[in-house]
């Protein structure tokens, strides 16, 4: 207080702009802020945020969580059957899905369609009617992938006979995380398709492709994922909605190793053509790598760092490092995007999938500056893409020097979302996303950009504040 009297007065003005003008007129220095009610006007949420600002124990916790995230070295080590990697899947008729928990009757079309497809694929039922009856009788249970350290794009369906990528982090006691295999575009399970063609492909993926990939990894040895992502960011990918370069870089490692295996040539050829034909093949590995990095940051008491963002086609859910496994959910925000010919916004399902784990880890929408092609989905310009990446610097704890953005003069991607900054600065995390048709099985009908809903962050902070005050 006494110190103030001997300093030059510099005023930050929140509210009546004329007060700032008057201070300037009177020869003082005032900055007129563009103040808006924080937490979207949630008074108590705003108060909770205020108490959490600039608290030493939180800053320290965030530093710890951030360091764990930065130090992570996600490495692709194996391919396993889901029932083997996640024993719960073998022990019961359990199916994992994307996003926060949701009951069957509340699920969106694509997720329901994909679940029925998985039931057919597992041969728990002979046809869709039987499959649905099974669900209605409560004989199949559902849980989020994240509850088992797994991630899956769109519907994110994982059942026991599906192959999973196994990614280990050597800096986190070799803790493992998982993701399913990418099926390509068109009629695919993750968009809710469950026709014979889809099931047939899943069967091939669960057998021949899985074998090939496992054998390939034995030849290649563990594959470090961060360097592939980092290079892809310099090649026009943001490793969420665009994975063309990353898939190519993966192929460079995959093909020679695959050719060294003793598998029949036809199987090798088929595996290579499958990967070649799918520019999104790397997406699931990018997601697993991101999950691995963020898992390292989980469960740091008092930390306000976001460790999960995921959508189930109805709700958007987040988790904070400091609040453990609790989900904070709100209805997903609409997607601002472009639609394939013949489709429009009225056909779109709500935002869906675990793939927002990429944004949580500082790539995807956060690295949009690397991928000007993506911004065209919303009719934007490359300048919008770089501004989006810069805007994310305002809500993150720092940058990830492992992932740099050429368009920002090789600045590290903004990483480690601080829920406090989201609520205080009123800047929502940007997510690049595909758009699913709301009816099961139609598939992807567009792509665009969306944001995480504010309420999740407000609720998460309120919960953390209650936890700290207790």
């Amino acid at each position: 207080m006494k110190a103030l009297f001997s300093q030059q007065l510099t005023v930050l003005n929140a509210g009546l702009a004329s007060f700032a003008d008057n201070i300037e007129r009177a020869g003082g220095h005032a900055i007129a802020m563009n103040w808006q009610p924080p937490a979207d006007g949630d008074r108590l949420g705003g108060l909770a945020l205020a108490q959490l600002l600039n608290q030493p124990e939180i800053e320290l916790a965030n530093q710890t969580a951030m360091n764990h995230y930065l130090a992570a070295q996600p490495t692709l080590v194996d391919v396993m059957m889901a029932g083997e990697a996640i024993p719960a899947l073998a022990e019961q008729q359990l199916i994992l899905h994307a996003g926060p928990p949701i009951a069957w009757q509340d699920m969106c079309g694509p997720v329901q369609g994909a679940i029925l497809g998985a039931i057919l694929f597992e041969k728990w039922a002979d046809d869709l009617t039987q499959a649905e009856a099974l669900v209605r009788n409560g004989e199949v249970t559902f849980e989020p992938c994240h509850h088992y350290d797994a991630v899956g794009p769109m519907a994110g369906i994982i059942s026991r006979s599906m192959p999973l990528w196994v990614v280990e982090n050597s800096t986190n006691n070799n803790e493992r995380v998982y993701s399913n295999f990418n099926e390509g575009l068109g009629k695919v399970l993750r968009f809710g398709a469950n026709s014979d063609e889809v099931i047939k492909r899943l069967n091939w993926m669960g057998t021949e492709l899985a074998q090939a990939m496992k054998a390939m990894l034995l030849e290649s040895g563990p594959i470090e994922l961060k360097p592939i992502m980092a290079q892809a960011l310099h090649m026009g990918d943001e490793v969420h909605n665009r994975n063309a370069a990353a898939t190519g870089l993966l192929l460079k490692q995959l093909v020679p190793a695959l050719l060294k295996t003793s598998l029949p040539q036809a199987q090798v050829q088929q595996a290579i053509s499958f990967v070649m034909a799918n520019d999104h093949f790397f997406l699931n590995l990018s997601m697993a790598a991101c999950k691995s990095m963020l898992k390292a940051a989980e469960n740091v008491p008092n930390s306000t760092m976001v460790t999960v963002m995921a959508r189930n086609g109805v709700n958007f859910g987040i988790r904070l490092s400091g609040t453990g496994n609790t989900w904070f959910q709100a209805p997903a925000n609409p997607v601002n995007g472009l639609f394939f010919p013949g489709y429009g916004v009225e056909d779109a399902a709500a935002d869906l999938g675990d793939s927002a784990i990429t944004e949580t880890a500082g790539v995807g929408g956060f690295a949009m500056a690397s991928s000007p092609a993506i911004v065209k989905f919303v009719g934007g310009t490359p300048a919008d893409a770089t501004n989006n990446s810069r805007a994310m610097q305002g809500i993150t704890l720092g940058g990830n020097p492992a992932f740099t953005l050429p368009a920002l003069n090789f600045a590290p991607t903004a990483a480690g979302i601080d829920a406090r900054k989201v609520v205080d600065n009123l800047v929502l995390p940007i997510i690049n996303t595909g758009i699913a048709h709301k009816k099961a099985g139609v598939g992807q009908i567009g792509a665009g950009i969306t944001t995480a809903p504010m309420q999740c962050f407000v609720d998460a902070l309120s919960a953390l504040s209650t936890q700290i005050n207790r």
Partner: protein
């Protein structure tokens, strides 16, 4: 060939080391899985090579080819790195090598200056945290957001190390207490909630006047009280070091005068402050006692004015009791100048007597009542106190003890003194200091009332107040004069200084020309009006 080259190089190096006699070392550091493109790495290498004492530096990805190239270049063959690892290797004097590795590390992790790379991007300043990021020297948050959000903003500002002035009102006492306790803990200043005015380091904040800097520090729990005192100090040729508002609830029992005590102690420590003035409506006895006890301990003269408690006498050396807002300024200036204390009472000079006699002749017998029409809440309060000293019991929307509530705040009854800045009148409408039309309407209404003997009013100048306080007021006065067969007397006080944007002298002259009697202070205006009415019998 390769081998012999390397051997030659090593031989050469070894000899060079011997020859120069300088202890040269090779240092390296590997960063696991930190991919960077080779061009940016070459840039960093080039920069490191310029460091004095560095013989050679290399920053590369740890591919087999790169490692063997480094071995060829004399960095040895014991560098352990994987192709995805980034390797910094430096050769040279030990200290220079350490510096180089440190610099490289910084270059790799620092957020680069984007320079001319496209349009500059600055996010809108939606929060104090962002504001501080861009203006690290900011030291005060001025908060005038809607009351329901104000507490959170104040707590944030304090947590970020900012002093706070809360213009916002409608903050609960519980929140106010929490805010003030937090400020105490952090040794930061909180003015408000409901603090309308302050002058910090010579800069007027909120509704404040332009006042000469000087040696008198003021802490006031009343906005217009602070304006009146600081303006009077200026008018007397004195100056103000700091003027802090505490907000109207600070001396409430639940808050306990935290801000006033904190302000008092800050001024006590402030070298520029020689005399301290404390102003408040009468606080609870226990709080008054605590403030007076603290004031007595301060080794600077403290002038105290608790409105309506003018009869208290100084009980401790160095503590002076003033009798009105203006009087507190007068006492402070006298104490500072080592002069005799100014008279507390209104002086019924011959001139005043004559003025009153003249005014009386202009009235009809029905004109008997005082009608106080105020924009400043504390001016209304002070006018009621003074009127009561002349035996005038008045009606008000904000009655002091002994006065009565108006049946209808929009209509005067008998002696009426209203605060038009109170919530009763300002719901959905700007404060009358900002937009005086409500005050002007009320004056017209009272002038038309045949029982009105005198209209007593205030004109408040300074930043925040109406930029053109005269325009509509002069029209209103014209209208009154044209309409009334028998004009009520008009007595006013202009709170402001000659340095204010509205220029006090000009305003006073224009009002006098329009037939208004201008007093030097609110207290003088109230005394004159009340004495006059008391003489009507």
């Amino acid at each position: 060939m390769q081998v012999s080259c390397t051997a030659l190089l090593n031989y050469y190096l070894a000899n060079k080391l011997k020859l120069t006699g300088i202890y040269m070392v090779i240092k390296y550091k590997a960063f696991e899985n930190l991919y960077q493109d080779s061009v940016s790495l070459m840039q960093i290498s080039a920069r490191l090579n310029k460091i004095v004492g560095v013989d050679e530096a290399s920053v590369v990805m740890g591919t087999e080819a790169n490692l063997s190239r480094m071995a060829d270049a004399g960095f040895g063959d014991n560098i352990v790195a994987k192709p995805n690892d980034l390797v910094i290797a430096v050769k040279g004097e030990e200290e220079a090598c350490n510096t180089a590795i440190e610099q490289a590390q910084q270059a790799l992790t620092a957020k680069p200056d984007e320079g001319s790379g496209g349009a500059s991007f600055s996010p809108p300043l939606t929060s104090f945290a962002l504001g501080l990021e861009q203006h690290a020297d900011a030291n005060l948050a001025l908060i005038s957001v809607p009351g329901e959000y104000a507490a959170a903003e104040a707590i944030k500002a304090l947590n970020l190390g900012l002093n706070v002035m809360m213009f916002s009102d409608n903050v609960s006492l519980a929140d106010e207490l929490q805010i003030k306790q937090l400020a105490q803990k952090k040794a930061l200043m909180v003015m408000g909630p409901d603090c309308g005015t302050a002058i910090i380091n010579g800069i007027p904040l909120g509704f404040a006047n332009v006042v000469r800097r000087g040696a008198i520090g003021v802490v006031a729990a009343s906005g217009t009280g602070l304006q009146e005192a600081t303006c009077r100090i200026h008018q007397l040729g004195g100056g103000v070091s700091q003027a802090m508002g505490t907000g109207g609830h600070d001396l409430h029992q639940d808050i306990g005068g935290i801000s006033m005590l904190q302000g008092l102690l800050a001024l006590a420590e402030d070298d520029a402050t020689k005399v301290i003035v404390l102003i408040s409506k009468p606080p609870a006895a226990a709080i008054a006692e605590r403030i007076l006890a603290t004031a007595a301990q301060v080794d600077k003269p403290v002038v105290v004015h608790f409105l309506g408690q003018a009869d208290s006498q100084a009980t401790a050396t160095g503590v002076y009791f003033a009798h009105s807002l203006a009087h507190s300024a007068e006492v402070a200036v006298a104490v500072l100048r080592n002069q005799a204390l100014p008279n507390a009472q209104f002086i019924l000079s011959a001139q005043v007597q004559e003025q009153v006699t003249t005014l009386k002749t202009q009235l009809t017998p029905t004109q008997r009542y005082i009608r106080g029409v105020f924009a400043g809440g504390t001016f209304c309060f002070e006018a009621q106190i003074i009127a009561s000293q002349y035996g005038l019991s008045a009606f008000s929307n904000t009655p002091i003890q002994g006065n009565h509530c108006l049946e209808d705040v929009w209509t005067s009854q008998q002696h009426t003194i209203v605060d038009l800045g109170d919530d009763d009148f300002t719901q959905g409408r700007p404060h009358p200091m900002i937009d005086p039309s409500l005050r002007n309407q009320r004056m017209l209404q009272d002038a038309r009332d045949a029982s009105t003997a005198v209209i007593l009013f205030d004109v408040v100048l300074g930043y925040g107040a109406s930029e053109e306080p005269l325009a509509e007021l002069l029209d209103t006065l014209d209208q009154i004069r044209n309409e009334q067969v028998s004009m009520p007397a008009l007595i006013a006080h202009v709170c402001g200084t000659d340095l204010d944007p509205q220029a006090r002298d000009v305003i006073r002259q224009a009002l006098e020309d329009a037939g208004v009697i201008i007093a030097d202070s609110n207290a003088d205006a109230a005394h004159l009006a009340a004495y006059f009415v008391s003489q009507l019998g």
